[in-house]
Amino acid sequence: MSAASEKLYRYRRMKNLLALVLSALAALFGLFWLVWILWVTLSKGMSHLNLGLFTQMTPAAGEDGGMLNAFTGSLEIGLLAIVIGTPVGIAAGTYLAEYVNHSKLGTVIRFMNDILLSAPSIVLGMFVYITVVVPMGHASAFAGSIALAFIALPVIVRTTDEMLRLVPSTMREAALSLGIPQWKVTVQVLYRAALPGITTGVLLAFARISGETAPLLFTAGGNQYFTANVLEPMASVPTVMNNFAMSPFENWNGLAWAAAFCMTLFVLALGILARAILLRNKVSHD
């Protein structure tokens, strides 16, 4: 090997080494922040965790209390959003995968759905404010649910569409050749095959909306007391966290951290559960 090519060889080796070290550092850098955030949330939340959090209502500044009304409110608003969003989302996903799969209309809807998936959630909150809150005259849990349903919808549409397209076409053909009408094939054969995937989508959508704050700010309102009436303003965990964290009162800040802890655990657990369902199903198919 000549001296020149030896030098070039060494230069290329060094460059490679440098790039690989930098990439490992980038991975460390990225993980560092995420681990830090997780650590702070867990440790700060733990230290403010007590039983009162789940048994008492949101307190006035400086007093003891919990977030029972916010937890039940969030659960009710979130579940209602899923109840509204799931049928529409599954139906829309079915339309995409089974009726307009390769057509222009299908491409357009998929395109728009992906945009809705990443659209700023606060804008959807304003949209629901104009279309639901203003006609009703006041904020309500129902309006909050509609706003969250708009966020859950694209997630469910997308997973349903993807999961239905993964079902082998031989299954469709076999069922159709028996003379079964298409709606029955879809409901009784395809949905059954795609069920784990669709469930994953719904769980991921639920995880996504349980932390959403911005769309609830002007739609669900706030309520210091417990209510189960969806037509009334209702407290929710994210909006209460927002108010309490921004406040100068220490007991409110503490409650916000405790709520952050619960929210993070809940979202992570849902995410893990969703992936586990998908993974187990994949393994059993293989």
Binding site: S23, L25, M112
Partner: protein, 323 residues
Amino acid sequence: MTSEAATLPASSTRETTDNRIDAIFRGGVAVAGLSVLAALAGAALSMLWGGREAFETFGWKFFTTADWDVGARNFGALVPIFGTLVTALIAMIIAVPVSFGIALFLTEVAPTRLRAPLAAAIELLAGIPSIIYGMWGLFILAPYLGEHVYPWINDNLGQLPVVGPLFQGPPLGIGMLTAGLVLAIMVIPFISSVMREVFLTVPSRLKESAYALGATTWEVVWDIVLPYTRSAVIGGIFLGLGRALGETMAVTFVIGNAYQLSAGLLEPGTSIAATIANEFGEAVDPLHRSALLALGFVLFVITLIVLAAAKFLLLRLQRQEGK
């Protein structure tokens, strides 16, 4: 004969019922499919309609004046628009190289056993609600930066020629740079997981050919993987940009919410989403409310353009794959 005559009409009524249900089913799912389009169009139009008063009152001056005064009923959107663009730009400057490094690490460098779990962990962390990032930014990151990092930046980088004014400012901790940093941390999982996915689509025969010719890992990534996935990588970056532009809670907590136009990145500012989050609930003046809706419309249009561009670029790789 009699039995056949009896079953024929029965089976044909069954056929008509089936056909009818099929038509209803098809109609139902079509309505649901089109509702996605309706949601997007409805959101855009309702905000344009709600913001018309502000657009009519201020015209183009809405975008060019920096004066946002609720009391004087004077609304210029320059400061929030500027804040949104600057914080998103800072986020991209930090997040793009880091995400590329992470994607490279997860596809080529890390031990094979670690790749899948690490990727799953990063995707899981992408699901942490933005309000948690905001609280962490306000209570932990901002005080730290204000005490230890920003004074140093102000003293050292602030004296540099040309770029100096960018780094001058009071060490408050909260401000545009902090907001940009928090946004960067938020979008890193998004961008890196898109990049990782598209890197995995590169046919291994292409990479193996290059390795066989004696290329180093870096040369394979830079000369084979990146050119093959270029449009999708840019698409992933745009996807992250779309998120950064529209992010509300994390920014609202740390940007400082001040209506001032300043080149200094350490100064507090505001963004479109933060302005809406802070003021829309309390806006009683119709013109104020209209101005906020107009802001929402502007944000919607900006993110729409960015996300549409991202989708186009990502689709390009899929088409190339399909061929």
